[in-house]
Amino acid sequence: MEHALDTSMTVNGSPVRRRIPARQHLVDFLREELGLTGSHIGCEHGVCGACTVRVDGDIVRGCLMLAVQANGCRVDTIEGLSDSGELKALQKAFHEKNALQCGFCTPGMLMAAQDLVLQKKKCSREEIRNHISGNYCRCTGYQAIVDAIEQVLNGQS
């Protein structure tokens, strides 16, 4: 049986082809093989959300998906979304509202927040909190993060 598989995927718009060990999860592959270290590894069992990436347009836990399962998929990471300018408004709001301190959770937090922004609806603070409930921040706390997301979603200053 195959313990490593030839796998093709599109990462941040570029085609990638590698032979990947079955046991390697997607974030390890992105970080170790492709050098995309913006997606962080916190808990490695789906609790903290630091590894949030987008697969075929949906946010997923990068540590709870095997890299070989991304065969044929479009994978977008914080690097891709940042470079394309998609996150510009959120990044500006996080800066202005001081919504990060150590920054470890920030890439995952931005990926989750952008998922909400793309739904193009106004949200209460409660709804924002629910949406980022799977992303842990252990230093700044959530008040400023919710402020920043709210500013982008609802156009408040």
Binding site: E2, P21, A22, R23, G46, G49, V60, S133, G134, N135
Partner: protein
């Protein structure tokens, strides 16, 4: 931590999947959404020799109406259940339960079939399936068999599924009214206790999650004629196990709180 080494196969047909499962027996595990299996691999609580990824099997997809029952394929994700107009209309209990399952990024991958086949007693869908009297469609090389939810959940993480069988779909009969409520410390955490309630004509059914080794049908409370009687009777139905933070009596108290909320909705 990192998962131990294992082989991986993604069969394109059911026949190939049965071949792999028959050949490798207990050493193989089926990978659906992976939102419980992959954490258990990463924590090395489980070390299969082979993962059989069933995500390529079209037969396990889709939501369709079969007579009056709603058939939901095993690979349908929590996010799809949450958003499906058909689920909202024909099995609203599931649509109400889905947002309680973990977080958006997990609901995008986790599946109905994975949750039912794992049979975590704190999970939402097993309780919903029992409250709705769902039937499970189980496939093997020999063909198809149907198992009622009441016979499917055998014990803690234990189901009626045999080796080399695949849970393909579940069929949910309609209910006149349904309500799902749960109490959790934080949104998306496993529930301290939860309740899936249905009413068909005048017949109510209350099923609790987080209240035992399997979802627990509260037989006596479901038969009661008044709320006071039902709350009293719940003491005979439930003997919930204590967890790290809540004693058994606290959980029973909270179960009664949920029963009252559900009773007033049904």
């Amino acid at each position: 931590m990192k998962a131990p080494s294992f082989a991986y196969a993604r069969p394109g047909t059911l026949a190939e999947a049965f071949d792999l499962l028959e050949r490798h027996g207990e050493r193989a595990r089926i990978l659906a959404g992976g939102q419980s299996l992959i954490p258990s691999l990463n924590m090395r609580l489980s070390s299969p020799e082979l993962l059989v990824d069933i995500n390529g099997l079209r037969e396990l997809q889709g939501v369709s109406l079969q007579g009056k029952a709603l058939r939901i394929g095993a690979l349908v994700t929590h996010a799809q259940i949450e958003k499906s107009p058909d689920v909202k209309k024909h099995a609203s209990l599931l649509a109400q339960a889905a947002p309680h399952i973990a977080h958006p990024a997990i609901r995008n991958r986790g599946t109905l079939g994975g949750s039912l086949a794992l049979a975590d007693p704190a999970a939402e869908y097993p309780a919903c399936a029992l409250a709705l009297n769902a039937s499970f469609i189980v496939l093997s090389r020999k063909g198809e068999r149907h198992v009622k939810a009441a016979e499917f959940f055998k014990g803690l993480f234990e189901t009626d599924l045999k080796s080399a069988e695949i849970l393909a779909a579940a069929e949910f009969p309609p209910a006149d009214k349904a309500v799902f409520v749960e109490l959790a410390r934080r949104h998306g955490d496993y529930a301290i206790i939860g309740l899936a309630g249905t009413r068909v004509a005048s017949q109510k059914r209350f099923v609790f999650l987080g209240a035992g080794a399997t979802p627990v049908f509260a037989k006596n409370a479901s038969r009661a004629k008044s709320l006071a009687e039902a709350k009293e009777a719940l003491g005979e139905d439930l003997d919930p196990p204590a967890d790290l933070y809540h004693s058994s009596s606290t959980k029973l108290h909270l179960a009664r709180v949920l029963l009252e909320r559900a009773w007033n909705t049904l």
